[in-house]
C-alpha cells in the first residue's frame, strides 16, 4: 500500500543508491554531471590535468557526503558547490592565490556594447585561464557562479573590499584582453 507515500523520484533513487555505495549508481551520477563539472574545473584550473585532479577529488567528496544532502536545493547545485569548493582548496594548496600586481596599468572600460558572440568556448576558457589565479577565482565566483562579494570574501578568507577590488581588476584585465583581441582581429581583417 503506497497510497500515502510519495513515490520516489529517479533522483531519490540515485541518491539512495550512492549512499548505499552502489557503484552503478555512482557511475550514473558521474555521467549525469561530469561534463558540466569538468567545465567548472577548467574555469578554475590553469591546466586540463589539474582540472581533472579537481574533478576526481570533488566527486569523491560528493559520494562521501551525499548522505548529508538535504534536498533543499537541486542536486546539481549541491554538486557544483562541492566542485567549486574543491577547486578553491586545490588552488590554495598549490599556493596559487598570492596576489601578484600586474605591471601594466589597466583601465575600466564600459561593457555596454560588449559581446562574446564571436568567441568559441575554448577561446573564452583560454581568456579566463590567462588571468592570475586569485583574479580568475574571484571572477569565476562573481561573474559566473553568481556569489556576491561578501560571500566571496568569506570563501577566500579575504575582506569584502578586497574581493571587490580584485574583481574590478580582473574585469578590467579581461576587457583589455578582449579589446586587444578584437583590435587585432579588425586589423587583420582590414589588412587582409
Amino acid at each position: 500500500m503506497k497510497l500515502f507515500t510519495k513515490p520516489k523520484s529517479d533522483e531519490d533513487k540515485l541518491i539512495e543508491g550512492c549512499i548505499a555505495g552502489k557503484r552503478d549508481m555512482q557511475r550514473l551520477l558521474y555521467d549525469l554531471y561530469a561534463k558540466k563539472m569538468m567545465l567548472v574545473c577548467l574555469r578554475y584550473a590553469p591546466t586540463t590535468f589539474e582540472a581533472e585532479d579537481m574533478m576526481q577529488d570533488a566527486f569523491i567528496k560528493v559520494y562521501a557526503n551525499i548522505g548529508n544532502f538535504k534536498k533543499d536545493c537541486p542536486l546539481e547545485f549541491w554538486v557544483r558547490k562541492i566542485v567549486v569548493n574543491t577547486a578553491l582548496k586545490h588552488l590554495r594548496s598549490k599556493q596559487l592565490l598570492t596576489v601578484s600586481h600586474e605591471a601594466e596599468e589597466v583601465s575600466n572600460i564600459s561593457s555596454d556594447n560588449f559581446s562574446l558572440a564571436g568567441y568559441s568556448m575554448e577561446e573564452l576558457l583560454a581568456i579566463i585561464q590567462s588571468l592570475a589565479p586569485r583574479y580568475r577565482m574571484v571572477f569565476n565566483l562573481y561573474a559566473i557562479e553568481g556569489y556576491n562579494h561578501k560571500e566571496i570574501g568569506e570563501m577566500l578568507g579575504i575582506s569584502e573590499g578586497t574581493s571587490k577590488s580584485q574583481y574590478s581588476r580582473a574585469r578590467a584585465i579581461l576587457q583589455n584582453i578582449i579589446m586587444r583581441q578584437e583590435e587585432n582581429y579588425k586589423k587583420h581583417v582590414i589588412s587582409s
Binding site: R27, Y30, K89, Q95, S115, L124, E145, L156, L174
Partner: protein, 568 residues
C-alpha cells in the same frame, strides 16, 4: 566606480554567465577509472577501520565472557562442594550404632543415634553405604521412624542382629525396628506431627525385619531426617519436665557424636529441649550451612546513571601563534599573516576564557560478583556522553599542511579550537573573521567496558557505605563539534572516520557514597565519582600546538542494584 564595486552586474557579467555557466566539457575517458579506484581504496580503509573496532569489541566481550564464566564455575563448584558436605547420603554411610539393650529404646535416643550417625557420616563422606535403619511403631500404633544409619554388622546385647552393610550392588536395604507404644495409639506420620506430644512411658521395641518388609513409610518420612539439624529443630516445643535429660542427651551427643548410645529404660519427653537450645544446637550442627543460607546471593545486577561535568583539557598555546607568524615571514606576505595572527590570538584568548565543562552523563549496566563478604567485583557495559562548551566570536579557516605529500588540505570554516589539532600553518593558511558571538559544543560519545571493585561497609540496619574503584576501556563512537553559527560547519567524526581523536581511551574511576537497602533484593546508592582518562583526547598530542591535558569528569553516581537469588 566599477560595477563590480557596487555589486551590480553589467553586460559583461551576464554575457559570461550565459555562455559559461551551463557549458560542458568532456573529461578524459580514464577519469572515472581513477574515481572508481579511489572509491575502492576508501571502502577498503573504512572496512579495515571498522574491522579493527569490531575486533576490539569482540576481544573485550570475550574477556568479559571468560571472566564471567570462570567466576561462575568457581562459584558453582564451591557451592556444590559445600552442598555435598552438608547433605547426608544414607547409602554412602557406614556408621556404627549399638542396638539398644533388651531391644528397647526411647524416641529421643533414636533421634540422638540418628544425629550421631549423621555427624559421623558427614565426617567420613567417603565411606561406603550401609543400611538404613527404620524405627517403626507396632503395627497397632503404626508409628514408623526411620533412622538414617545403622551398623554395617552389629549384634546387640540382646541378640538382635542387624544385617551387615549392603554391598553397593545389592538392593538398598532398610531394616526396620518396631517400636511398641501400647499406651499411646496415635499415628504420627512424621516427627513434626508429634511436636508437643509426650512419649513418656512409651516403650519402644526394636525388632529386625527383612529388607522386604520395609514399606513406603520410609519414603514418606525421609525428608524429615535428611539432616540432623532438621531432626533437632523439629523436636517438640518446650514445656516438658524432662528438659534437663534431653539437654544432657544432646550434649553427650555433641561431645561424642560417634559414641555408642546404650538404650535405657528411662523415658523422657523430647519436648524438653527449649527453643533456645534448639537454635543453639542447630547452629552448632549446621552453623556453616545456616550462615550460608541466610547470606545474600553472590551475584547482583545493577544500573548506574552518572550526571557529570567534563573537562576536555585542551588548551591554547602561544606556540600556535608563533608558528603562524614565523611562517608568515617566510612566505613574504607579512601584512596578511600578521593581521590573521592577531585575530587568531584574539580567538584563542576567547577560547581559553570561555571554554567551560558541559553537562555530561554516563549510563552503565553492571554485573556484580561478591568476592568476599564486603568486596564485590563489578563489570558490565556502558555509554558515556561527554560534553564541553564554549562561546566564540571568530570564524577561522585553516589549511593544515600534510607532511606526506607536502600538500595542504583545507578545513571547513571553523572555530579557534580546530587549529589546535595541527601544527601545519602556512602564510595564507589562516583566515579569521569576526562575527557575532555564538555557542560551540564539543561532544564525545563513548562505549565503555568497565571493570572494578567495590567495598561495602555497614552503617546501620538498612544503610551502608561503599567505596569503588575501577578501570574502563572507552571506545569512541562519535565526536562532534557543533556551532550555533550557520557559517561554521559542524564537524562530526563517526567511529569509522579518520579523526584526530583517540579511538580507544582507558580511564580510571573512583567513587564513594552511601546506599540504602530497600528490601532483601533491592538497594540504591549515591555518591560522587571522579573519572580520569589516562590518555589525551587527541590521538597524536605531540603533533598539536596546543597543550594537551588528560580529560576528566566529576559527577554523581546514582545506582540501583538487585541481588540475584536473594530470598532463595
Amino acid at each position: 566606480m566599477s560595477s563590480a564595486a557596487n555589486d551590480k552586474r553589467e553586460h559583461l557579467e551576464e554575457e559570461f554567465r550565459r555562455r559559461m555557466h551551463d557549458a560542458e566539457a568532456t573529461p578524459s575517458a580514464d577519469l572515472w577509472a581513477r574515481i572508481d579506484h579511489d572509491l575502492t581504496v576508501q571502502e577498503n580503509s573504512m572496512y579495515k577501520s571498522r574491522m579493527v573496532l569490531y575486533r576490539q569489541l569482540a576481544a573485550a566481550c570475550f574477556v568479559l565472557f571468560v571472566l564471567a564464566g570462570a567466576l561462575s564455575m568457581y562459584y558453582f563448584s564451591k557451592d556444590a562442594q559445600q552442598q555435598s558436605l552438608a547433605t547426608v547420603q544414607p547409602e554412602k554411610t557406614a556408621p556404627v550404632i549399638a542396638a539398644p539393650a533388651a531391644g528397647e529404646i526411647s524416641i529421643p535416643e533414636a533421634l540422638a543415634a540418628a544425629m550421631a550417625t549423621q555427624e559421623k557420616a558427614a565426617q567420613k563422606p567417603g565411606e561406603k553405604a550401609s543400611e538404613t535403619a527404620m524405627i517403626r511403631s507396632s503395627e497397632k500404633s503404626g508409628i514408623t521412624v526411620p533412622i538414617l544409619a545403622a551398623a554395617p554388622a552389629r549384634t546387640s546385647p540382646a541378640g538382635v542382629t542387624a544385617p551387615a552393610a549392603t554391598p553397593p550392588e545389592a538392593p538398598a536395604a532398610a531394616y526396620t525396628y518396631t517400636i511398641n507404644l501400647p499406651e499411646n495409639k496415635t499415628r504420627p506420620e512424621s516427627m513434626a506431627a508429634n511436636s508437643g506430644r509426650s512419649f513418656t512411658n512409651n516403650k519402644i521395641k526394636f525388632s529386625t525385619e527383612s529388607p522386604g518388609d520395609t514399606k513406603t513409610a520410609f519414603a514418606s518420612l525421609q525428608p524429615f531426617y535428611q539432616t540432623a539439624r532438621q531432626a533437632i529443630t523439629a523436636a517438640p516445643s518446650p514445656g516438658s519436665s524432662h528438659t534437663s535429660q534431653a539437654s544432657m542427651a544432646v550434649q553427650q551427643l555433641l561431645r561424642n557424636p560417634g559414641a555408642v548410645l546404650v538404650a535405657s529404660n528411662t523415658t523422657f519427653s523430647v519436648n524438653g529441649t527449649t527453643n533456645k537450645q534448639q537454635q543453639e544446637l542447630a547452629l552448632l550442627l549446621n552453623g556453616k550451612k545456616e550462615s550460608k543460607s541466610s547470606s545474600d546471593s553472590r551475584w547482583t545486577v545493577g544500573m548506574a546513571y552518572t550526571p557529570s561535568y567534563f573537562e576536555q583539557n585542551i588548551g591554547m598555546s602561544d606556540q600556535m601563534m608563533d608558528a603562524a607568524s614565523m611562517y608568515s615571514l617566510v612566505s613574504g606576505a607579512p601584512a596578511v599573516s600578521s593581521f590573521a595572527a592577531r585575530k587568531v590570538e584574539d580567538a584563542q584568548d576567547e577560547y581559553a576564557e570561555n571554554t567551560d565543562p558541559g553537562f555530561s552523563f554516563s549510563f552503565d549496566a553492571k554485573l556484580g560478583f561478591k568476592l568476599a563478604r564486603k568486596l564485590r567485583l563489578l563489570t558490565g557495559i556502558g555509554y558515556a556522553q561527554n560534553t564541553a562548551r564554549t562561546k566564540s566570536s571568530y570564524i577561522i579557516r585553516q589549511l593544515p599542511d600534510q607532511v606526506q605529500n607536502n600538500d595542504r588540505a583545507a578545513l571547513e570554516p571553523a572555530i579557534a579550537f580546530l587549529p589546535a589539532f595541527s601544527n601545519g600553518f602556512s602564510p595564507d593558511s589562516v583566515s579569521v573573521t569576526r562575527t557575532e558571538e555564538y555557542n560551540v559544543q564539543y561532544r564525545y560519545r563513548h562505549l565503555t567496558l568497565p571493570v572494578g571493585l567495590q567495598y561495602e561497609g555497614h552503617l546501620s540496619k538498612d544503610w551502608y557505605w561503599y567505596a569503588a574503584s575501577g578501570v574502563a576501556a572507552n571506545f569512541l563512537i562519535q565526536s562532534t563539534i557543533m556551532a550555533s553559527n550557520d557559517e561554521v560547519s559542524d564537524v562530526n567524526f563517526n567511529s569509522g572516520d579518520s579523526s584526530p581523536f583517540r579511538k580507544v581511551q582507558l580511564s580510571g574511576n573512583i567513587s564513594m557514597g552511601v546506599g540504602k537497602r530497600l528490601s532483601n533484593a533491592v538497594s540504591v546508592s549515591v555518591g560522587p565519582e571522579f573519572r580520569g582518562y589516562f590518555n589525551t583526547l587527541l590521538a597524536e598530542p605531540g603533533n598539536a600546538l596546543a597543550p594537551q591535558g588528560k580529560p576528566y569528569t566529576v559527577g554523581l553516581n546514582m545506582a540501583v542494584n538487585y541481588d540475584l537469588g536473594s530470598g532463595r
